[in-house]
């Protein structure tokens, strides 16, 4: 990794005004790409900042954070023989794509375990805080925690996935002043110390969301994972203006009062998603800076992917591990730790942007938090575009109210039968009836959430919880309310229409269709994400 570190200082994000000399712009398009020419004179492209330098000695930084925590005694001081220690960690949804070994969780947890061993703690459990996500497989746990940790704990059943549906595995910690139920994994709640190990990829992650969401169950999550909250989070990436976070923070108060002592460890990574060199390096370069070699390797990759069946393309990208570098680590009490973390995340992601646009275009990549080692189904396409990308703003949305979002993604009618069983039914049955998030929530959420078969698959197989597709749909509720039209370029028309969007075969067709809504010659903004950027819209 050290060899990849660049000599010059990383450049910040950039807003490029498109003129006649601007080369075609790269759009991510699932397991492939499109090169699109944007109309000159009224288009702009927002580029993410180049990767910030990683910590030179991550091990030392971690050790330093554990020994000098914020608003807390050093970790060793919190450890004593005979105590019950639980280490909870972020699941497979972070980071994206999964990172090269050693994973940050492994680095942190190994040090925590060393300190626990030194203090004579022998009752240690490790729990993947996956809330209602699918269980992690043994191989995935191995990757996140390393062989040593896995082999030491898994055979003793001291390393496992959180099970929100275990009838004996959850406890109620109380209710917030807004009458929100707070529940927590029993082992974590009944521990003498809960250490939470986080990877903060976007500003939404971390803080009280780690424990109040990651270790909770449906009955607790439903207070903030709902349409009302999402429509009042502007955006959920911007904590002070996020109803989602306000609710989680209220639940945090209850955890502080009635839950276990928490030692929060948060980390941030840089934007080095595709590497400074290597086959995908071109994806984090700006098009006019592509060298002849970049161009050639991109064209070869583009042509190769086009010739491969979708499953093979998925295989190619699924094997990509990001060379992320850790940019910060902070430990201690949840709130001060998260303040510091958020500042570090924003330092990498924020790009100042002047004013809104009529049409927002985005190229959706092959991965989102919920399809690691899986399939990006149409609902996840919606969630990634209208949930994540749309909400990556501070201030006001990039696109004006009543504007148009154009997303580029193949949007195939494809589902992973093991990971997303309830998605299939949600898509094929419920969306055929209505696409209105509030109506779906009122009519069907409870039924899917308490469905015996989905619960069974969530607990014993590797399925997202029955209610999860609803959350995906709610994630886009703010955008659905805000936008005048959503157009998907290059998607399966049947699947696109099923979601209430409009299919277009080319970007120019899509822009033509958009003009019905926003008038002729609209302003266009393209977010060149990933690597991740967050628009700071004035």
């Amino acid at each position: 990794m050290a060899t990849e570190r660049r000599q010059r200082a990383p450049r910040p994000g950039l807003v490029l005004d498109v003129d006649r000399s601007t080369p075609p712009i790269l759009f991510h398009h699932g397991e492939g790409f499109r090169l699109e020419r944007l109309p000159a004179g009224r288009s702009r492209v927002i580029y993410p900042a180049e990767p910030l330098p990683g910590l030179a000695d991550p091990e030392a930084a971690i050790r330093d954070a554990l020994l000098n925590p914020l608003d807390s005694d050093p970790l060793p001081a919190l450890l004593r023989p005979g105590m019950k220690l639980t280490i909870a960690f972020d699941d497979i949804s972070l980071p994206l794509p999964p990172m090269r070994r050693p994973d940050i969780r492994q680095r942190v947890i190994e040090q925590v375990l060393d300190m626990a061993a030194a203090a004579g703690v022998d009752d240690v459990h490790l729990i993947a805080a996956l809330a209602l996500h699918r269980r992690m497989t043994d191989d995935e746990l191995r990757h996140a925690l390393g062989e040593r940790v896995f082999d030491a704990f898994a055979p003793q059943d001291a390393l496992y996935n959180h099970d929100a549906e275990d009838p004996d595995g959850m406890v109620v910690l109380g209710r917030t002043d807004h009458d929100e139920l707070v529940t927590m994994n029993r082992r974590a709640a009944e521990s003498d110390l809960l250490v939470y190990v986080n990877i903060n990829l976007v500003a939404m992650d971390g803080g009280w969301k780690s424990t109040a969401t990651g270790l909770a169950d449906y009955w607790s999550l439903r207070h903030h994972h709902n349409v009302h909250t999402m429509e009042h989070s502007r955006s959920f990436m911007d904590r002070p203006r996020s109803e989602l976070h306000r609710s989680n923070w209220r639940q945090g108060e209850v955890i502080k009062a009635n839950g276990p002592p928490i030692f929060q460890i948060e980390t941030t990574v840089n934007n080095n998603t595709f590497g400074h060199d290597g086959p995908l390096a071109v994806l984090q370069k700006r098009e006019w800076e592509w060298s002849a070699r970049d161009r050639a390797s991109f064209m070869a990759m583009h042509a190769g992917l086009k010739a491969m069946p979708p499953a093979a393309c998925r295989g190619v990208f699924g094997r990509w591990l990001a060379p992320y570098e850790m940019t910060s680590v902070q430990a201690g009490a949840v709130e001060p730790v998260h303040e510091s973390t958020t500042a570090n995340v924003l330092a990498q992601h924020l790009v100042p942007v002047q004013g809104q646009t009529d049409v927002l275009t985005m190229g959706l990549p092959y991965i989102c938090p919920y399809n690691v080692n899986s399939v990006m189904n149409p609902i996840l396409v919606m969630c990634l575009g209208l949930g994540y990308f749309f909400n990556l703003y501070r201030g006001q949305p990039l696109v004006r109210e009543g504007g148009v979002v154009i997303m580029s993604h193949p949007t195939r009618w494809e589902f992973h039968p093991v990971h997303h069983p309830s998605y299939i039914d949600f898509f094929e049955q419920l969306l055929a009836e209505t696409t209105d998030p509030a109506e779906l929530e009122a009519k069907y959420e409870a039924q899917f959430a308490t469905d015996e078969w989905y619960v069974h698959l969530y607990r014993t197989s590797y399925a997202y919880h029955g209610v999860h597709p609803f959350y995906m749909w709610y994630w886009g509720a703010h955008a659905l309310q805000w936008l005048g039209r959503v157009i998907v370029v290059g998607g399966d028309p049947r699947a696109v229409r099923r979601m209430g969007f409009q299919p277009a075969s080319t970007l120019s067709d899509a822009l033509e269709m958009a003009s019905d809504v926003v008038g002729p010659s609209p302003t266009i903004t393209h977010v060149h994400n990933p690597p991740i950027l967050m628009a700071d819209v004035e």
């Binding site: 898994a154 499953a311 189904n377 494809e414 589902f415 039968p417 093991v418 078969w453 014993t460």
Partner: protein, 799 residues
């Protein structure tokens, strides 16, 4: 014209107050007669002799006669306010049902019945088997012996009744030229054979055919055919099929015998032949009973009474015309100059009225023919032009909403048409056989079922050619001297009320404005676009709604290929390879592949034997280990290979409050992870001791008929009604189970089941694995590198 204002014409007057018996009242002509008598002859009393059937004579008369749409006119006249009595009251007063059967000596009447029949003034015998392909002995019993039996009953009882026997012009046989109104034996062309000998030989032929059908060779051939049609459906289903094929074979033999005997004596078919001998027998045995014979030609829909176009049943010309309109009959034999002798039914009825009113004449029996060929001929060529012209203007639409163009016939000889059809049929049969032999499923299987349907249509078309070709080529001219003399004797009132003058028919108007519009409705031909593929769609969604109706009790599912695209071999392979290293995996795959043909053959022969044999391999496997591996296999193999729509359907049944049941030949520990989907699971169970399985099944694996039995037992134990149950399965081996329930569903059916399901109108579902499911070349378990590495005994040795 209302019942109250009837004029005092002669026919009405002479029939008024009479007691009139009719046999064959449930037939086309009999219904028309009954209706006309009730409507136009006040106060006559009717005795309808009908076979009692299951419901009894009274019910049959109610259901099969008096509710026919022929009576709509009369009913609406009577059921008006101010009418002195309702339709039901009138029929209750005037119509008596008498249980009797003309195929039995003495008609099966008791003393009371005999007395009632003998007390009639007029007996119209119109009962006949008009099937052109009825078995010889059936035709003999009804057509040949029927009239003589009626006369015998009347004669024995000393009745004074005038018997009117309805025969057919075609008793004249296949010949050219004039066929006068004379008794058959008066004709110089009639080859006289002893009718009693024909009766004996027909009965003997039935016994011989029954005997021949039970020969070992025949039974073996039938068993092969049954297996080809049903596949491995289990012994009870197959034996039932063999028996029904045997009965059909006997009937085919008898039909062929009838056709051959008729042809040998110069008749177009067994119907004309037995009718001719029936006239002979009647003349010979009538005793003192006065008999008049009325011979219509081909009776077709009504010209005017009870309303234009009224017809009962799908008769002779209709199937041919319908097949033509659907574009199936590219050619039909016949000479364009030839005459198609058709007569509307109301003209025949009026003729019978006139004959009855006139009374018997000497010498008895007298013959009256009612036909059109001699004085108002409808040429075959003209009929074709009228029909094709009409269908060009009013095309039938195919399933894709495209109008079907009607073919132009070139009127080749019968032999050439038959040969053409035969060729087409042969090539389709070959294609069909090839497709049936291929292991097709789902949509491909349905395609091949379509082919099968085409083949059947062709088969039917060539049957028509064989059956009716003779009529199209018949060039006899039926003389009408007596009919016209009778017509001349009527006064104007009778003529306008009871028209039977064949000259009154305008063929163009009759064919295009009366017959065809009514026929297409009768045949339910699709005369308008719109309902096209959408129609099949809405049909399946209607069926889907039915299966999910809360009134259903139970939904039973097969597993393999119904809910998951996998089988017991795959799950075994998955479990067995979990502990093998790469080299052993290769060896295992090679061994299993080498064994595959044998396993497949065994499976095809008998599923239970296959399972018993195959499951031996689990001998010695640790129970704990398999249980935990099966939980993992749910994710890695079963769900990956599952049909999400199928899983959803199970859950929809549960939501609708139905009990759900899985019956599978898979092992219980393999399907254990699916338990939350079902209220009950019946699976193969294996014995175990000391924490290891012994490889032997504890029960008969529930496949084929055992599956049906399992279902039946389950339903009974839980007080569920199978008629209110739904069953999902994919192969003909599940036929007993599918047939047992009220709502069978064929899922991704193999060809044979697809054909069956189509024919029977079952719901067919095409369920697929999820697009996006990980693909596995071979069903092998992922290598164990996890939690319990190193402390696991292997399921199979590496040898």
């Amino acid at each position: 014209m209302s019942a109250g204002t009837r004029t005092n014409d002669v026919i009405t007057e002479s029939l008024a107050g009479k007691r009139i018996a009719i046999t064959g009242a449930t037939g086309f002509l009999g219904t028309a007669l009954t209706e006309r008598l009730l409507r136009c002859v006040p106060d006559c009393e009717l005795v309808l002799v009908v076979r009692p059937g299951r419901r009894g004579a009274v019910q049959r008369v109610q259901r099969d006669v008096l509710r026919n749409d022929a009576f709509d006119r009369l009913r609406s006249e009577l059921d008006q306010p101010g009418s002195p009595e309702t339709y039901d009251e009138m029929t209750a007063r005037r119509v008596k049902a008498l249980a009797g059967d003309v195929s039995n000596d003495g008609l099966g009447l008791d003393d009371e019945g005999r007395a009632l029949l003998a007390s009639c003034d007029i007996v119209v015998h119109s009962a006949a088997t008009v099937n052109f392909d009825s078995a010889l002995d059936d035709a003999v019993e009804v057509n040949l012996l029927g009239p003589a039996r009626v006369a015998a009953v009347l004669d024995e009882a000393g009745s004074k009744a005038h018997m009117i026997a309805v025969s057919t012009c075609y008793v004249a046989g296949s010949r050219r030229g004039a066929a006068p109104e004379q008794l058959v034996d008066d004709s110089p062309f009639f080859t006289d054979v002893g009718w009693r000998d024909e009766v004996d030989s027909a009965r003997r032929a039935r016994r011989d055919a029954e005997q021949a059908s039970r020969s070992p060779e025949r039974l073996e051939a039938l068993a092969v055919q049954a297996r080809r049609e049903l596949g491995a459906a289990g012994i009870p289903a197959l034996s039932e099929k063999v028996e029904s094929l045997r009965r059909r074979w006997v009937n085919d033999q008898m039909t062929a015998a009838g056709r051959a005997r008729a042809a040998s004596l110069g008749f177009p078919d067994a119907y004309a032949f037995t009718k001719a001998l029936g006239e002979r027998a009647l003349a010979e045995t009538r005793g003192d009973i006065a008999v008049s014979i009325v011979r219509p030609s081909i009776i077709e829909s009504a010209l005017a009474e009870p309303y234009p176009g009224w017809i009962r049943g799908f008769r002779m010309a209709e199937p041919v015309i319908a097949a033509y309109a659907r574009g199936l009959l590219k050619e039909f034999p016949g000479v364009p100059e030839g005459i198609i002798d058709v007569i509307p039914v109301d003209l025949v009825v009026a003729t019978i009225f006139a004959v009855a009113a006139r009374g018997p004449v000497d010498p008895s029996p007298d013959v009256t023919q009612v036909a059109s060929g001699a004085i108002n001929p409808l040429k075959y060529g003209k009929l074709f032009d009228l029909v094709s012209g009409w269908f060009t203007e009013h095309p039938v639409y195919d399933e894709f909403n495209q109008p079907i163009p009607v073919p132009r016939w070139s009127f080749p000889g019968r032999g050439r048409v038959a040969r053409q059809l035969h060729r087409a049929q042969r090539s389709l049969e070959t294609a069909d056989r090839v497709l049936t032999a291929l292991p097709l499923r789902g949509r491909h299987a349905v395609m091949s079922a379509t082919l099968e349907e085409r083949r059947q249509q062709l088969e039917r078309a060539s049957e028509y050619v064989e059956l009716y070709g003779a009529y199209a080529e018949c060039e006899a001219i039926y003389q009408l001297d007596r009919l016209l003399a009778l017509w001349d004797s009527l006064d104007d009132a009778d003529r306008s009320e009871f028209c039977f003058d064949p000259r009154s028919v305008d063929w163009t108007q009759y064919v295009q404005q009366v017959h065809l519009p009514s026929m297409v409705e009768q045949a339910r031909l699709k005369m308008a676009p719109g309902a096209g593929p959408g129609r099949t769609e809405s049909r399946s969604s209607r069926l889907r709604r039915q299966v999910l109706d809360p009134q259903r009790h139970l939904a039973v599912f097969d597993l393999e290929n119904t809910l998951i695209a996998s089988n017991v071999v795959a799950s075994y392979a998955w479990l067995a390879t979990r502990d093998l290293d790469d080299l052993d995996r290769v060896r295992f795959a090679a061994r299993t592949l080498a064994e595959a043909p044998r396993l497949l053959a065994l499976d095809r022969r008998d599923r239970s034997d296959f399972l018993r044999y195959f499951y031996r391999r689990f001998e010695g496997a640790s129970t704990d280990r398999l249980d935990s591996d099966c939980a993992e296999m749910l994710s890695d193999l079963i769900l990956t290979k599952s049909f999400p729509q199928g899983i959803r359907r199970i859950r929809e049944h549960r939501q609708a409050g139905h009990m759900t049941l899985l019956i599978t030949g898979a092992l219980d520990f393999v399907v254990e992870p699916l338990r939350p989907l079902f209220d009950h699971i019946v699976a193969a169970e294996m014995g175990s001791s000391d924490g290891a399985y012994d490889g032997r099944l504890l029960n008969v694996p529930p496949t084929g008929e055992a599956r049906y039995q399992t279902l039946a037992d389950f339903a009974e134990a839980h007080g569920l009604d199978l008629r209110e149950s739904v069953a999902y399965a994919d192969s003909t081996s599940d036929l007993p189970m599918l047939e047992a329930v009220g709502f069978p569903v064929a899922v991704n059916p193999e060809t044979k089941l697809a054909a069956l399901a189509r024919r029977r109108g079952w719901l067919i579902e095409h369920w697929a694995t999820s697009a996006g499911a990980p693909t596995k070349l071979l069903p092998m378990g992922p290598r164990i590198r996890g939690r319990a590495r190193g402390r696991r005994p292997a399921l199979v040795g590496s040898a």
